[in-house]
């Protein structure tokens, strides 16, 4: 269940594979359009712009001052009785988690949904260490059984039909469960409830970590994260180090931004603030709480022109509105994150030729900028990544020459106008009846699937 399908593939190849799945192209808009509409309606009842500015400033401030907030978080968490661990990379994070599970004498581990654990490929690492790991978010449970990967931050199986889920669950049940989502969900609940009651360790992610209180904040709708923090004897939360917030009060800004953007809800069904192991007098809860702060490539982005991407709160809104994502789905991006956030993060976390190419999986329409709840300039970051890739001489010689000429021409008003005329004149040579049906050179790929209309004449 590796999270990396980049090696030896191209975006074009992966996208073509995804486009061949007719369900997915209809399913993504069907699944996300409701969220987009609900989100818009909710934000329309308030001062959305001001709220986003506050969200951006809180996040940008926290990311710029991580040394201070990581230290404060650690002190506060330890005062609560939580053990804080520091993982430089994926291997170290996985080893820390396996070590905690081993020390606890654990066998069965329940997990709630966490994109960070997809990044570090925690499940295979724990399985290799001899533990049984069960995903408990319904979507992630399906992903795990199918040996698949999540294709959306919030809705991991929006690429799957109920028929596929029926097949997977029926195989486990040993009888046909039918394709009513109600029956399928009930089956999963029953399976997972039993696992929850037996599990030794509960692993969660962390939507935020609050420095002043040493708490980890979790939002879910199903309640699995809360069960995972209630029933097992040990709770381990893995949190990306950039997810710190200075104050509890910051949640009054970031929770509405995250939830409305992510699911279009007023508030998720469950919002849990976990501040340590069970205390004296409390009837249930874990004996141990561990927080693993994970760097995993994040510190390398600090101080670069891409620092703003660390403000991301993983709401998935940019995926929902991205015209490329809506067609090709999350898997085409080759790594854990799809859509604009993936197009920025993948090249930064996986700077191979294949990883860098993902920055081009965007039409630069900037729809993502408009919805990002913390105002990350995704469009600018994508353009910068492309520029950097050109600088690193990864594209062919022709592409570099062409971009060089383009940049020179469009920096001068005279040459800009001239280049427009030359361009249109050459298009006219190719056109028949105002339409270019088969282009030459770099135009060939554009016209392979669509016609190119000639630009209209300027009227005076």
């Amino acid at each position: 269940m590796s999270g990396d399908h980049l090696t030896g593939t191209t975006f074009e190849g992966r996208a073509a594979e995804q486009l061949a799945k007719p369900f997915q192209r209809k399913a993504i808009p069907a699944a996300v359009d409701g969220t987009v509409a609900h989100s818009r309606a909710l934000f329309a009842t308030g001062d959305r712009e001001r709220l986003r500015e506050l969200g951006r400033d809180i996040r940008a401030h926290a990311v710029a001052n991580l040394p201070e907030y990581v230290a404060a978080f650690t002190d506060a968490a330890e005062a609560n009785g939580t053990r804080v661990h520091f993982a430089g990379d994926a291997t170290e994070a996985n080893a820390i988690v396996a070590g905690i599970c081993r020390d606890a004498g654990a066998q069965l581990i329940v997990k709630s949904k966490s994109m960070l654990t997809e990044e570090i490929e925690l499940n295979p690492a724990l399985e290799a260490a001899g533990f049984e790991v069960v995903e408990t978010d319904l979507g992630e449970y399906v992903v795990q059984i199918a040996n698949d990967r999540p294709s959306h931050i919030i809705g991991p199986i929006i690429h799957k039909t109920r028929g596929e889920v029926r097949e997977l669950f029926s195989a486990i049940a040993g009888r046909d469960l039918g394709d009513d989502p109600r029956a399928l969900t009930a089956f999963a609940r029953e399976q997972l409830r039993d696992v929850f009651l037996r599990a030794d360790v509960g692993i969660t992610g962390g939507n935020f970590a609050v420095a002043e209180s040493g708490s980890v904040v979790l939002v879910t709708n199903e309640g699995n994260a809360r069960l995972a923090t209630s029933l097992p004897r040990v709770h381990i939360a893995l949190v990306g180090v950039e997810r710190l917030l200075p104050r509890t009060a910051d949640l009054s800004v970031l929770i509405p931004l995250l939830v409305a953007s992510g699911t279009g809800q007023q508030l998720t069904t469950y919002l849990s603030i976990a501040s340590g192991p069970r205390r004296e007098g409390e009837p249930d809860g874990p004996d141990e709480m561990h927080v693993v702060l994970v760097d995993g490539g994040r510190s390398a982005i600090l101080g670069t022109g891409y620092q703003d991407i660390l403000n991301c709160i993983r709401c998935g809104a940019c995926q929902n509105v991205c015209p490329v994502y809506r067609q090709v789905g999350g898997h085409a991006y080759g790594w854990v994150y799809g859509g604009p956030i993936g197009a920025v993060l993948t090249p930064l976390f996986k700077p191979s030729a294949e990883g860098l190419e993902v920055a081009h999986a965007s039409s630069l329409c900037a729809a993502c900028d408009d919805v990002c709840p913390v105002k990350i300039p995704l469009h600018d970051l994508l353009v910068d990544l492309r520029r950097d890739r050109v600088g690193r001489r990864i594209p062919g010689r022709f592409e570099r020459l062409a971009y060089g000429a383009w940049s020179r021409a469009w920096s001068s008003p005279l040459l800009y106008r001239l280049s427009g005329r030359v361009g249109i004149a050459s298009l006219r040579l190719l056109a028949r009846g105002g339409v270019v049906r088969r282009g030459l050179g770099p135009l060939r790929r554009w016209t392979r699937d669509r016609d190119l209309l000639l630009p209209g004449r300027r009227r005076r």
């Binding site: 399913a27 069907a30 699944a31 409701g34 009842t45 709220l51 506050l54 940008a60 710029a64 001052n65 991580l66 040394p67 990581v70 230290a71 609560n80 520091f86 430089g88 170290e92 319904l138 979507g139 399906v142 809705g155 991991p156 109920r162 989502p181 109600r182 969900t185 609940r189 009651l197 709708n221 199903e222 309640g223 699995n224 809360r226 069960l227 923090t229 209630s230 180090v241 104050r247 009060a249 910051d250 949640l251 009054s252 800004v253 929770i255 409305a260 007023q266 508030l267 998720t268 469950y270 919002l271 849990s272 501040s275 205390r279 409390e282 009837p283 760097d295 510190s299 600090l302 101080g303």
Partner: protein
Amino acid sequence: MERDAFIARLAAARPGPPLPDVSSLPAVHTELRPGDELYARFVHELTAVNGTCELRPAAAVSAAVVAALGDARRVALGADLGDHQAPVEGALAAAGIAAIAYEEAVADRAVLGALEATVTGCALAVAATGSIVISAAAGRAAALIAPLHVCVVPAEHLVGGLAEALRILPPGSLTAFQSGPSRTADIEKVLILGMHGPGATHVIVAT
């Protein structure tokens, strides 16, 4: 990694903006709007997320709890009902419901797994989001282990919005906001209640 080495790697950041003041917020859907009445907004939001709610004078609360439990017989009771604790226990016994303390139920996984309903109090309730706020002092899983959760909310625990609730969070190792029954829409976006938590949440606001 050692803490200091880990933190040292984070020092290269470009400077950011100052931390903004959030003591007064711009208009946002998780806070009260001008003219909102506390209870009316709470009912509106809770109903919108498939919870149910009734307003009862203190003396009528225990009868309302019995009624809300319907046919449920394997019932666990939180220890956080305050003034309502004794009357509710009495009413359940009179109705022939042998409720056990949540603390006892949680000690035996077989009993815990077989519960049909739980009854708890709550530390706070948030009008603008239709949420009840339960502290670990009452039990982390008390509100979500059974298919039905009945919650008694003293009217004076009702606050306006998320910001106020966050300012006065109850003590405890975990604070949980819960807004309506557990839900999922993972399979083809079909909304289903009662995924891991209860399929029904009933709130009795006691005046």
